[in-house]
């Protein structure tokens, strides 16, 4: 057994994520494009890489022997039983264009199970966090999902895939969805979408084709806040659905990949 508790790991993630957010804020001008990954849409900035390097250093210093999975660098396999899944800058496209809607996302695992998560809204200044069995918090105050059970009143959020094929399918289904719900937002940060569901600001969030670092922290925060969650995997076409429990079953067929 690890000597670390989920609560300990939450505190490590909290300290590190807040420092990382300070680091991003100090680079307020969007940085130049540094490299292009899978498609031209997928932009990486110098800030991304610098901030991830900083986060990796801090986590390894706090918890030597950590395993680390991050967006920008290769996986590190540790021996402590503690793992981290990090996104230094969730909302990279927003950041590249100077849109002040970005977050830092750090999740902890114990024996490969989700243990804790922290998401910091860099320019909004809010901090969301949770640890397994310990509840979810926004700036220290407990948060819960909404109690909605009527889909037609739901305010939902989503994001669109970088993959042109998946995106085309998502686009084709928008009209039908829009007629069934109250409204739909798309902010460009998966981690904030998840946290805002957790805080009862959205009734639900769905997206296909996310990476693990996009949702690892936000997912445990939403689950601890009472959301019903469907984790992406090979068996469901990499589909993520996180909602207040009362609308999950009605919404799923409208948004899940065919």
């Amino acid at each position: 057994m690890s000597r670390w508790s989920p609560h300990d790991l939450r505190e490590v993630a909290l300290t590190t994520a807040r420092l990382a957010a300070d680091h991003i804020r100090s680079r307020t001008e969007p940085q130049g494009v540094y490299a292009t990954k899978s498609t031209p849409t997928d932009v990486v900035t110098r800030t991304d890489m610098a901030v991830e390097e900083f986060i990796r250093g801090e986590l390894e210093r706090f918890v030597p022997g950590s395993s680390i999975v991050g967006e920008e660098f290769d996986d590190v396999e540790g021996h402590s039983g503690v793992g981290w899944v990090i996104d230094p800058l969730d909302g990279t496209v927003n950041f590249v264009y100077g849109m002040p809607i970005v977050s830092v996302s750090i999740a902890a695992t114990l024996g490969r199970e989700p243990a804790a998560g922290v998401v910091v809204d860099v320019f909004g200044g809010e901090t969301f966090m949770a640890s397994r069995g310990g509840g979810a918090f926004l700036d220290g105050r407990p948060i819960r999902v909404t109690t909605l059970d009527d889909l037609s009143s739901a305010l939902l959020c989503t994001g669109f895939s970088y993959d042109a094929g998946i995106r085309g399918e998502q686009a084709d289904r928008l009209g039908k969805l829009l007629r069934r719900i109250s409204n739909l937002r798309a902010l460009g940060s998966a981690a904030l979408h998840l946290c805002w569901v957790a805080a009862g600001r959205f009734d639900g969030y769905f997206e296909t084709d996310l990476k693990r670092w996009d949702y690892a922290a936000g997912m445990i925060i939403a689950a601890e806040a009472g959301a019903r969650v469907e984790v992406p995997g090979d068996d469901n076409g990499d589909f993520l659905l996180v909602t207040t429990p009362g609308i999950f079953d009605e919404l799923r067929p409208l948004v899940a990949p065919a």
Binding site: A171, G175, N183, L184
Partner: protein
């Protein structure tokens, strides 16, 4: 507000307040200061939204904050420019005795405010003899204020900003919003299905005037939405135009469509959103 809040560059007239209402730069300054103060007031009410009544539909709501902040804005604007007409989202129009009309939205993004979603803005435009000549949009949560006047460009917190220079639609980040009219929803879905594959991505933050301010600042390459009201768009559309974006609104063939875009992608995007 103290009378020394007017810039030294303005030529003061003998009006009761000492303000030259014919000078767009003076009007922009007033709009900026009042919008910033109103944004502070909205910010202090975050998380305590209370619905007073609904207007056209269950999603067209008015909160206590909408009413109180609009009252604050009206008071401050009339202190600075006595006799001005004021059109606001919540209290309707008050006739004036001068050529000046203020167009006010105390909280653009009321649904966001109600849900405690931290994306909303205060919008104030100044119209002289029927033409908008100055405006300010204040981002309530992040504290940025975008303002400008005719011929003077647009500033964000003091720094000049301009619309995006993008000329390839594939590189354009595009903002939009969905109307609350059920009939429009299908069409909006079809249009979004055309726009999504052709652009970098679509955003919808739920505040038209903030989207327009971000077009003015070159952050979003474009914004389009149908079914907007005068107070949603007056200040933001002015700022986008003044910052070099092309803006189309209320054309006969595209009744109800607002499109603001970087000149380099305007025509390409227009073909998609007018289908």
């Amino acid at each position: 507000m103290p009378s020394d809040s007017t810039p030294a560059t303005s030529a003061l007239s003998e009006s009761p307040s000492g303000v030259d209402i014919g000078d767009p730069a003076v009007l922009a300054h007033i709009a900026h200061v009042v919008a910033a103060a109103a944004a502070d007031s909205v910010r202090s009410r975050l998380g305590r939204a209370r619905v007073v009544h609904t207007k056209s539909s269950p999603t067209d709501v008015v909160t206590q904050a909408d009413l109180e902040v609009e009252a604050l804005i009206r008071r401050e604007l009339l202190d600075e420019t006595p006799g001005a007409a004021i059109s606001g989202e919540e209290e309707g129009s008050a006739a004036g005795t001068t050529a000046l009309r203020w167009i006010v939205d105390p909280i653009d993004g009321t649904i966001n405010f109600l849900y405690n979603l931290p994306v909303m803005s205060v919008s104030i435009a100044a119209e002289l003899d029927g033409t908008v000549v100055a405006g300010a949009v204040a981002d309530v949560v992040r504290g940025e204020v975008f303002s400008g006047s005719r011929g003077q460009g647009v500033r964000c917190d003091g720094s000049m900003v301009t619309a995006s220079k993008v000329d390839d639609l594939a590189d354009a980040l595009v903002g939009t919003g969905f109307s609350y009219s059920a009939e429009d929803r299908s069409r909006e879905g079809e249009i979004a299905a055309l726009v999504l594959p052709a652009t970098r991505d679509i955003r919808n933050f739920g505040s038209a005037s903030l989207h327009l301010a971000w077009v003015a600042a070159g952050r979003l390459a474009a914004f389009y939405q149908r079914d907007l009201n005068e107070w949603d768009l007056a200040a933001g559309a002015f700022l986008a135009t003044e910052a070099g974006a092309r803006v189309e609104y209320g054309s006969e063939e595209n009744d109800g469509l607002l499109l603001a875009a970087a000149p380099g992608v305007f025509d390409q995007l227009r073909r998609l959103v007018t289908k």
